[in-house]
């Protein structure tokens, strides 16, 4: 619901005026997406430590993306930060939980995070940058 709310906020914001300039989804974001999906794959295969490392790498990569984006410069920038920041927070929590949560539970959560990220990348690419 959180991401649904942000999605609707973005749809409304875009409809308000002609100043929408798209969402900056550069190569680093795509690379990070691959890292996240790899992390999920490791978890599916039961390789928890590798999943944790890749998850941390994903977060580092996101931080690098954010450094290159000025949040207030355009609405697209703002929403990229909000969406990916919220997602990253959830990933952070998931990484922490990997330490003590039962593996099946972590797998389910990771699938949710991966699915959510795929949705976000599709949203950015096909709706945000149309």
């Amino acid at each position: 619901m959180c991401f649904a709310a942000i999605t609707s906020a973005m749809v409304v914001r875009r409809s308000l005026g002609p100043d929408w300039s798209g969402i900056p989804a550069g190569w680093l974001l795509w690379a990070n997406s691959a890292v996240l999906l790899l992390s999920g794959a490791c978890l599916e295969l039961g390789r928890v430590r590798m999943a944790l490392v890749l998850g941390a790498l994903f977060l580092a990569g996101q931080a690098a993306v954010w450094r290159g984006v000025e949040v207030a410069a355009s609405p697209g920038n703002s929403f990229l930060i909000v969406f990916s920041g919220m997602h990253a927070l959830h990933v952070l929590g998931g990484l922490a939980a990997l330490a003590f949560a039962p593996l099946p539970l972590s797998r389910i959560y990771w699938r949710f995070l991966a699915g959510l990220w795929i949705y976000l990348m599709l949203l950015f690419t096909f709706w945000g940058n149309r």
């Binding site: 619901m1 959180c2 709310a5 906020a9 409304v12 914001r13 308000l16 100043d19 609405p75 909000v82």
Partner: protein
């Protein structure tokens, strides 16, 4: 307690994973918050009728906000903001659901504990942290925020130029709400998992007690609603601190400064906020409805009338409650066509509440009434719920709300339903389950006196408030000196203030009764009320 029960005081009573301890922690957090919120409201009511009074205490507490002992508008507005926030979140969202729910759910469904005891403990301490952050707003430079608990931008977004509390105080408020929301989400997950999975064998969903249905439906809407409040607060925090323009349009001129925002919409915030805000009021009332059904049934010696309908009504309220948020925004600049749609659905959501009211009366009809204190509160609830609900019929129509919006009529309405009816459900629940929790009875004479003083007192406070609403008096005014038409209402305000003083004082009877009886009350038999649910007859 099991054989492996932790021995240290810290693990048994502070960082406990025992649902009973956690339930009591939430309850007493809410009680403390209620007394704080009540003091704030007494201060507000005092100022409204004695705006020029010099009070040494004010000057000592707030040298900037009350220099010379006279309460400034900014101080009044910040007291008002904090009153609403503390009451709505830390009392009415915490106690009925997390307080009573945590204590009673495992007992009522014969489970050992909630599904995730450690998550439960985390959720309480997150809520506690949220309260600390909220209270901290009083103590930072500039003080507490002053935009109302609804915190509409641009007022809430432009920072200190809107008023002293709108600097750090407002940021702390937002952080607190975010923490509270996270605590709520954790609690909701726990409640849903527990009620879905840990019911005793043979207890189908439909045979779950009505109290559990109240907590179940509340947890489900809580999960969805708080998840929307978080982005609303986050986007506001970003607008305030990182220069984004989610809610702020171009061309704002505040204090002679042109602000650099571009392209945002203030109404967007209202949509996000009220999408949470309306389900929130059902989060507040649904557990209470379950508790009232229980009390009315036990003290009438009858099953709840139309039990199945009661369950369907609760679920309907929970579901349809998500579709009516626009009735807070009829005059906001939102499309008037949307207003019509929201109005229709708002009328529809009144129907299950009406059904519940009829069924409550049906429950006591032909019953064998025993007017023990819990029953007094429950009967009082019926009167208050009808009174508060009926004014909703006025407000839910844009044709009438076009006058009533942002008047004291609205303030009267929501206080009757939340501030009074929901609280009477808490009083009923407290006196009803007290013997179970503490093994002692609350003093019945004190309870009766408290009931009568409070029941009369709240009508004396809030009926005149509706009358000032008829006269069109706007809300959130620190004083009434500017307007001719408000002079005639001064006598009503005096009456309300003195009634508020008395009613507030009467609450001390409840608090005294609570603590004294827990320590020295008459020892209670195992099932003093003759109830049939499992917490009494394990």
């Amino acid at each position: 307690m099991s054989a492996n029960a932790p021995r240290s005081f810290l693990r048994r009573w502070i960082f406990s994973t025992d649902h009973k301890v956690i339930g009591l922690q939430y309850y007493f957090l809410a009680l403390f918050s209620a007394l704080t919120g009540m003091v704030l409201s007494v201060l507000m009511r005092f100022h409204l009728v004695y705006p020029d009074a010099r009070v040494r205490l004010f000057e000592w507490l707030w040298p900037a906000g009350a220099s010379g002992g006279i309460m400034t508008p900014e101080l009044y507005l910040s007291l008002m903001t904090m009153h609403g926030t503390i009451m709505v979140f830390f009392v009415l969202t915490a106690a009925p659901q997390s307080g009573f729910g945590n204590y009673l759910i495992p007992l009522q469904i014969s489970a050992e504990d909630m599904a995730f005891p450690r998550l439960n403990m985390l959720s309480f301490w997150t809520t506690f942290l949220a309260l600390m952050v909220m209270l901290a707003a009083f103590f930072v430079p500039g003080g507490a925020p002053l935009g109302g608990w609804t915190a509409y931008p641009p007022l809430s977004a432009v920072g200190e130029i809107a008023g002293p509390g709108q600097g750090l105080g407002m940021d702390l408020w937002l952080v607190s709400i975010a923490l509270f929301s996270i605590g709520s989400l954790m609690g909701s997950i726990n409640f849903i998992a527990t009620l879905a999975d840990l019911r005793a064998p043979g207890m189908g969903l439909m045979s779950m007690p009505l109290t559990c249905w109240g907590w179940f439906s509340t947890a489900m809407i809580s999960l969805l609603a708080f998840a929307v409040l978080i982005p609303a607060g986050l986007l506001l925090l970003l607008d305030r601190n990182l220069g984004t323009s989610f809610f702020l349009p171009e061309g704002l001129v505040v204090n002679d400064r042109v602000l650099p925002y571009k392209g945002g919409s203030p109404i967007l915030f209202q949509h996000l906020f009220w999408f949470f805000g309306h389900p929130e009021v059902y989060i507040i009332i649904l557990p209470g409805m379950g508790m009232i059904s229980t009390v009315l049934s036990v003290f009438s010696g009858k099953e709840v009338f139309g039990r199945k309908a009661m369950i369907y009504a609760m679920v309907a309220i929970a579901f349809v409650g998500f579709l009516v948020w626009g009735h807070h925004m009829f005059v906001s600049g939102m499309s008037p066509y949307s207003s019509m749609a929201f109005s229709l659905v708002t009328m529809a959501v009144g129907v299950p509440s009406a059904i519940k009211t009829f069924n409550w009366i049906g429950t006591i009809w032909g019953g064998r009434l025993r007017l023990e204190p819990p029953m007094l509160y429950a009967l009082g609830f019926l009167s208050l719920f009808v009174s508060g609900g009926i004014t909703g019929i006025f407000l839910g129509q844009p044709a009438l709300d076009i006058y009533f919006h942002d008047t004291y009529f609205v303030v009267g309405h929501f206080h009757m339903i939340m501030g009074v009816a929901a609280v009477f459900a808490l009083f009923a629940g407290t006196s009803y389950w007290f013997p179970l929790i503490f093994g002692r009875m609350m003093n019945p004479s004190l309870s009766r006196i408290h009931f009568y003083l409070t029941f009369i007192g709240v009508y004396m406070i809030f009926v005149p408030m509706h009358l000032t609403g008829f006269a069109g008096q706007p809300r959130r005014y620190p004083d009434f000196k500017e307007f001719e038409f408000m002079k005639d209402l001064a006598i009503l305000h005096k009456f309300m203030t003195h009634s508020a003083f008395t009613t507030a004082a009467a609450q001390l009877i409840f608090v005294l009764n609570l603590f004294w009886s827990a320590w020295k009350g008459r020892p209670a038999p195992p099932n003093p009320w003759g109830a049939k649910t499992r917490e009494w007859t394990p």
